[in-house]
């Protein structure tokens, strides 16, 4: 029941919000946040409980079902979590509540906004707990609708274009997934949609069929990650989306791509994985370098953070290509979590500035450090975390990724990818220098106020976690170790 409650509390919340009177904005806001605290607390408890009781084994925990849902199509309601989904649930629970608090700055059509947001949360939770392919697909798709509305109604000037682009892109990926799911289903004997059983079956499929299914799944997930060259929806969606939606987009939605690769794509098709891993690494490296170079050229703060996501997710792809190294795969998990925390926080911070200055142009600012000390300190910390300063979570993950990848991939390739760290430092420091150091334009920005209490409430938990993971990553690694060990064995069978 624990996992179901993660999905159904947000849906319940959506219904409650929808039934509330339209003009009671504050009541709606507090209700939405209040309801989202429940799944957050459950996800915290789940993480703790999993750590204490189940982290030693690779088996699924808290399994619900399989309960027959549509027996004539062999569709079951089947949930369960292991070491790779628990941290994702933690992240989803935390970031959802934080984003809802950050959404207090939404002033128009408040009721619809919070209702869609809660539906989005339900979909995200569902993706991370589903063990049935059909169920997984349904949750994967359910998220698109609220996301489309959230970008399209409350977004920036080019919101309509960004919203439909996001929707079409992701749906385009999903259809490949659907075909692959159907092929998996009909070639398995007896027919099943159970992911765990299909991991066994996938390894026994013919090489051609493995390649087809692998590539189909990969396209679907790569669009979500996004892997270069499927990334073009991301800058549009990120820049046009309201702050809180960007946070969810970067913090959770992108992780679904890499999560699904680890859960479905990689373990199911070992032969195809072996044949294609080099090219996946190449895509990863291109993503790292390309994302970093494009970030370097950005004049818009939010676009800079958005392109840095392409670069950071490139590290994940690089390490995913090193599927036979536990270190690399642990690095992937760390990178997913730390990118969720850091980039989420960076989007929040950019949003804070945008709410006050109504612009995100890097060039118009300068010397904000003297006027906004608290804000600047936090921004400094997150920038440093993003460029991988030791002591922060970003360093831990990148370190693991490089070590793991270097030992099992083409070393020149990994060598090139290390350049990404240097470029990362370049664009982050350039941004920091231009916005926070230098001359302060008193006439123009004299009216800016420092970060307020509500905004601090949204950012501080992320800061604390970034530091905690950076300084003492062992508990998190222990939580995932058994699962990842087992996963690497399956992937390199």
């Amino acid at each position: 029941m624990v996992l179901s409650s993660l999905i159904f509390f947000p849906i319940l919340g959506m219904i409650i919000v929808m039934l509330m009177p339209k003009d009671k904005d504050n009541l709606i806001r507090y209700t939405a946040v209040g309801i989202s605290v429940i799944p957050m607390v459950i996800s915290f408890w789940l993480t703790y409980d999993y750590f204490v009781n189940f982290s030693g084994t690779a088996a699924m925990a808290y399994v619900e079902g399989p309960f027959a849902w549509i027996p004539s199509l062999n569709v079951n309601y089947h949930l369960g979590v292991d070491g790779i989904s628990v941290p994702m649930l933690f992240l989803t629970g935390l970031l959802s509540t934080i984003s809802l608090i950050a959404s207090f700055s939404i002033k128009i059509r408040v009721k619809e906004y919070f209702a869609f947001f809660l539906l989005l949360e339900a979909g995200m939770m569902g993706v991370f707990v589903a063990l049935d392919f059909f169920l997984f697909y349904v949750f994967w798709e359910i998220m698109l609708v609220p996301m489309y509305f959230l970008i399209g109604v409350w977004g920036g000037p080019r919101k309509e274009y960004a919203a439909i682009k996001f929707f079409l892109y992701t749906l385009f990926g999903s259809i490949f997934m659907l075909v692959a799911i159907l092929i998996m289903y009909f070639t398995s004997e007896p027919h099943t949609l159970n992911m765990l059983e299909l991991i066994e079956h996938g390894g026994a499929m013919s090489y051609t069929l493995q390649m087809v299914c692998f590539i189909f799944f990969f396209i679907a997930f790569a669009i979500k990650v996004p892997v270069w060259p499927f990334h073009t929806w991301l800058p549009d969606a990120h820049v046009q989306a309201p702050t809180a939606v960007s946070v969810i987009l970067a913090g959770v939605l992108l992780k679904m791509g890499t999560y699904a690769m680890l859960r479905i794509n990689w373990p199911m098709f070992p032969d195809a994985l072996q044949a294609l891993s080099f090219w996946i690494a190449v895509l990863g490296v291109i993503g790292i370098i390309y994302g970093a170079l494009v970030s370097l050229a950005q004049t818009d703060l939010k676009k800079l953070v958005a392109y840095s996501s392409v670069s950071h997710m490139g590290y994940c792809m690089l390490a995913l290509a090193a599927y036979d190294s536990v270190t690399a795969i642990t690095g992937v998990m760390f990178q997913m979590i730390s990118h969720g925390l850091i980039t989420g926080a960076l989007f929040l911070m950019v949003g804070v500035l945008y709410d006050r200055a109504h612009t995100r142009e890097i060039a118009v600012f300068g010397g904000l450090g003297s006027k906004l000390p608290v804000y600047t300190a936090l921004m400094l910390m997150f920038s440093m975390a993003a460029l991988g300063l030791p002591g922060m979570s970003g360093f831990v993950s990148e370190f693991m990724i490089f070590i793991g990848a270097f030992s099992s991939l083409n070393q020149y390739l990994v060598g090139i990818s290390v350049l990404g760290v240097v470029l990362g430092a370049a664009y982050m420091l350039r941004m920091f220098q231009n916005v926070f150091l230098g001359e302060f334009n008193m006439a123009k920005w004299g009216g800016l106020t420092d970060i307020n209490g509500r905004e601090l409430l949204t950012v501080l938990p992320l800061a604390v976690l970034t530091l905690a993971v950076g300084i003492y990553p062992k508990p998190l690694a222990d939580l995932m170790l058994a699962t990842l060990d087992n996963l690497v064995q399956i992937m390199s069978r």
């Binding site: 549509i70 004539s72 199509l73 059909f134 109604v153 439909i164 259809i175 009909f186």
Partner: protein, 507 residues
């Protein structure tokens, strides 16, 4: 199917046919009621028609399965299921017509509703007929009242154009169909479909010389039914007719008439010509032929719909595309295939009738069908906007709505057949086209949602609903959700349908 004629008494036969007989009489009653009801008391006739449809449904429920008139008239799961769809379509078409009968067709209410019921009777006969002559009569009884209904706004140029166009093309396609039937009869010496499938196959195998004739028959029949289904290249009439016809009639055409065409197709091809789908019996292979038509339907329908600015024309092209999706299920040629066809049509009934009902509400209020005029409706009429959005998302196939389940079922049936060893690998390509074009389709369905939600300023219109149309909308809404979230009872029923078909013999 037992070829021996069961001895049944006349009363038993009439009992089996009672829903059709009742509905026919009731249509006359409806016309008569109009004579006595006052012009001001405008809902009485409509409610009479609705009650009749509900009673016919009740009669259908109590009659159950059976065979009559020497196996010319069969009530099997296929017939029962499609009769439910026809009655549902009629109910919703009548339910959303109350606004029109108040304004535009005030003086001809009885005829308007009566003709809808007559057409429904034709569809129901069609679903039960098991041989060519009664099938043809059923099809004609379906179409002829629709010619009149399409031209019902007799002062409106577009409506008259629509009626004439539909009439000319309908007459032409019926002739083609009949011509094709004559070949089938000539080759097999029977009009009974089950017997025909045996005769044609055995004649073909023993003489090897009727291949070309079968091809001609296939093409003629395909053209005839293709017009009814609006499958390209026989689709040109659909957008014009939908645009001109009264909106509930366009809805009835797009669901009822299309479903009737599907039943006719299934009966002729999946029973009568069943032996000739496979590649073994080339050149009479109608499978690939229909596959190409279905692919073209999905491409043309979905691509052209993107450019439409009139919502009725957009829905017309969307219905062309949806016919293409349904045909994939038909081609899967196994029990899942025909089950998916029935299920898809059932879901389509709710999603499409619902969408058209919403369009009717808007048209009654504003007189416009431009998509651009839907701007900002979410703020003045939230219920309307939510409901129409859900129908659009269902048509686009977004889970957890019925449209997704239907598409999943169709594609699953096709992939099932394609993964079997055999000559059906081309179904992969068909599924590929279907999935790719369904991404295109998202664009124009979501465009309506975009208009309603994404603008800052509120609409100048506020929607009001009369009671029947509200009921229709709510039924459709519930239908779309139930078929998406808990489709098991319906799938249970549709999985029984394949017993009507020749391939059930092989099981």
């Amino acid at each position: 199917m037992n070829p021996q004629l069961p001895i049944v008494n006349v009363l038993e036969t009439l009992r089996l046919m009672s829903p059709e007989i009742f509905l026919f009489i009731w249509a006359l009653v409806v016309i008569t009621v109009d004579l006595f009801s006052s012009r001001k008391n405008d809902s009485l006739v409509g409610y009479t028609a609705l009650v009749g449809i509900v009673i016919a449904g009740g009669l259908l429920a109590v009659t159950g399965e059976g065979v009559a008139f020497g196996a010319m008239f069969i009530n099997d799961p296929l017939a029962i299921f499609f009769k439910i769809i026809f009655l549902g379509a009629a109910f919703m078409a009548v339910g959303s017509s109350f606004g029109i009968t108040k304004q535009k067709v005030q003086n001809h209410r009885g005829e308007f509703y009566g003709l809808i019921l007559f057409s429904t009777v034709g569809m129901m006969f069609l679903a039960s007929s098991q041989e060519l002559v009664s099938l043809y009569i059923g099809l004609e009884l379906t179409t002829i009242p629709l010619f009149v209904l399409a031209a019902f706004y007799k002062d409106d140029k577009l409506s008259v154009e629509s009626g004439i166009k539909y009439f000319v093309i309908g007459a032409f396609s019926s002739a083609m169909l009949l011509y094709g039937f004559s070949f089938l009869y000539g080759m097999s010496g029977t009009t009974k479909l089950l017997q025909m499938s045996v005769n044609i196959a055995s004649i073909h195998l023993s003489y090897q010389s009727i291949g070309f004739t079968i091809l001609i028959a296939n093409v003629c029949i395909l053209a005839g039914i293709g017009f009814k289904l609006a499958l390209p290249p026989f689709h040109q009439w659909a957008p014009d007719v939908y645009e001109g016809a009264p909106t509930p009639i366009a809805a009835f055409l797009s669901v009822g008439s299309k479903a009737a065409g599907l039943v006719a197709f299934a009966k002729i091809f999946l029973i009568g010509l069943w032996g000739f789908i496979g590649v073994e019996m080339k050149p009479n292979d109608w499978g690939v032929l229909v596959g190409i038509l279905s692919a073209v339907a999905m491409i043309i329908g979905n691509v052209v719909a993107i450019r439409q600015t009139d919502i009725k024309r957009m829905l017309a092209y969307s219905s062309i595309a949806q016919a293409g999706y349904i045909m994939i299920g038909m081609l899967a040629l196994n029990e899942h295939g025909i089950s998916s066809v029935a299920f898809y049509t059932f879901v389509y009934l709710f999603a499409n009738m619902g969408a058209f009902a919403a369009v009717t509400v808007f048209e009654d209020k504003t007189g416009s069908t431009e998509i651009g005029n839907y701007k900002g409706l979410s703020q003045t009429s939230p219920f309307f906007a939510v409901v129409l959005s859900i129908f659009m998302l269902s048509l686009a196939g977004i889970p957890p709505l019925g449209g997704f389940m239907a598409k999943y079922k169709v594609f699953a049936a096709a992939i099932d057949q394609a993964t079997m060893p055999g000559t059906f690998k081309w179904l992969y390509w068909l599924v590929g086209v279907g999935l790719l074009t369904s991404v295109f389709s998202l664009y124009y369905y979501v465009n309506v949602i975009k208009q309603m939600y994404f603008t800052k300023e509120a609409s100048i219109y506020t929607m009001t609903f009369n009671k029947p149309v509200l009921i229709v909308l709510i039924i459709c809404l519930v239908g779309v959700f139930v078929t998406g979230i808990y489709p098991e009872p319906i799938l249970d029923f549709t999985d029984k349908i394949y017993t009507a078909f020749s391939f059930s013999v092989l099981k």
